[in-house]
Amino acid sequence: MSYLELRRVSKSYGVGATEVHALADVNLAVERGSLVAVMGPSGSGKSTLLTIAGSLEEPTSGEVVIDGNAMSSMSRNDKARLRRRTVGYVFQDFNLLAGLTAAENASLPLELDGISVKNAHLAGIAALEELGIADRATHYPDELSGGERQRVAIARAIVGERSLLLADEPSGALDSTNSEAVMRMILAACHRGVAAIVVTHDAQLASWADRVVFIRDGRIVDQTVPPPSPESLVADLSAPSPRL
């Protein structure tokens, strides 16, 4: 069974002549352990898709199902709890709180969920360790590089038992080396069983995904088919073997 499902999800803003259809009849399923990229230009509806998938916004019609729970049948409080415990977000501009250290930022979702400060801190440190940045735990965001800040943001998104990772242009303005590091971290989380969606206009980021879904004007218009073994590419290299 899919961990996250969007069933015929539509989202409109405004009414009458000013009505804008941000999403139209979107179906999307993400399994645990898999990374799906949603690729489209600015204004195509990909960020709306992400906020609805994370139940930060409600669809105008259709259903969002997370881990077998239909969001429409849940109370506001239950939904908020599920969101706090299950969903981690990574934003383009990192969204770290400037007055908190890296460790405090990473452990914040657990503290908000009522877990003791001590236990939350331990989980926060563990998440930073996973991303190779535990040595910066006591630093504040303005003492960290862009790449380090994004690692902290990913640590915050996967801290505790979070099983759904939603990332909006997660490499932000990072250079290609740091962008690749970000995608490797998200992929590593998927290998541990997290279900993840990355929305991006960047084909290089999207190419890390198991499946790439193309969105245009609020509609999913196409998707990649599972690629054959990459070994065929090596055989196709016309140049002498790069390993020589």
């Binding site: 690729m39 990649t224 054959p228 590419l233 090596v234």
Partner: protein, 192 residues
């Protein structure tokens, strides 16, 4: 080879004279692709031999005054070519440019659909290269560099498709513009 298919695309609009085809080819490719006069006529001859086009039989044998029509087989050949990925062992951009330009001329073909077919194909190829990088590149610097080069090359083609998609969408929303031929040609000549 794309001279054939460019000519088929022009003929898919309406029957045309040989001379007209030559002029349209030069205008629409904007000198991205210079070709000699004889190449148009020999290509028309081959297309006729392969029954992808027909001529009305009047006028000189392969000359500029003969009227050519596309056949049903020609339309099928054109459709297949438009959505067949180019050989990606060679840089595909120029051929893709020609395909997108040709798709603009073919009645009943959505250029956005043609762009998406190629975009998906390129992203699938990038997924395969990235898998190689994920599994092995960390351990082999030379291989990682080759894979990166290929990924950036493919990425640039996807970016061009995205830009073309956006530009065509904006153009469709705006009032009909004058034929872009002379201006584009001038710019390309300066660049060359």
């Amino acid at each position: 080879m794309s001279v054939r298919h460019a000519l088929l695309a022009f003929l898919s609009e309406a029957p045309k004279y040989g001379l007209q085809l030559r002029q349209e080819f030069e205008e629409s490719t904007g000198q991205v692709w210079p070709l000699n006069v004889g190449q148009v006529y020999t290509t028309l001859q081959r297309l006729e031999r392969d029954e992808l086009i027909e001529s009305d039989g009047r006028g000189e044998e392969t000359g500029p005054q003969k009227v050519f029509h596309i056949t049903e087989a020609g339309r099928k050949e054109l459709d297949t070519w438009l959505s067949t990925p180019p050989d990606t062992t060679e840089p595909p951009r120029d051929e893709l440019v020609i395909k997108v330009l040709a798709a603009l001329r073919v009645p009943g073909v959505s250029v956005h659909d043609v762009i998406q077919v190629h975009r998906r194909y390129l992203v699938e190829l990038m997924q395969q290269w990235t898998r190689l990088k994920e599994d092995e590149a960390e351990f082999d610097l030379t291989f990682a560099l080759v894979v990166d080069a290929e990924l950036f090359r493919l990425d640039s083609v996807v970016r061009w498709l995205d830009a073309a998609d956006g530009r065509l969408k904006r153009a469709a929303l705006e009032a009909p513009s004058p034929k872009p031929g002379p201006l584009i040609r001038r710019r390309l000549v300066v660049r060359r």
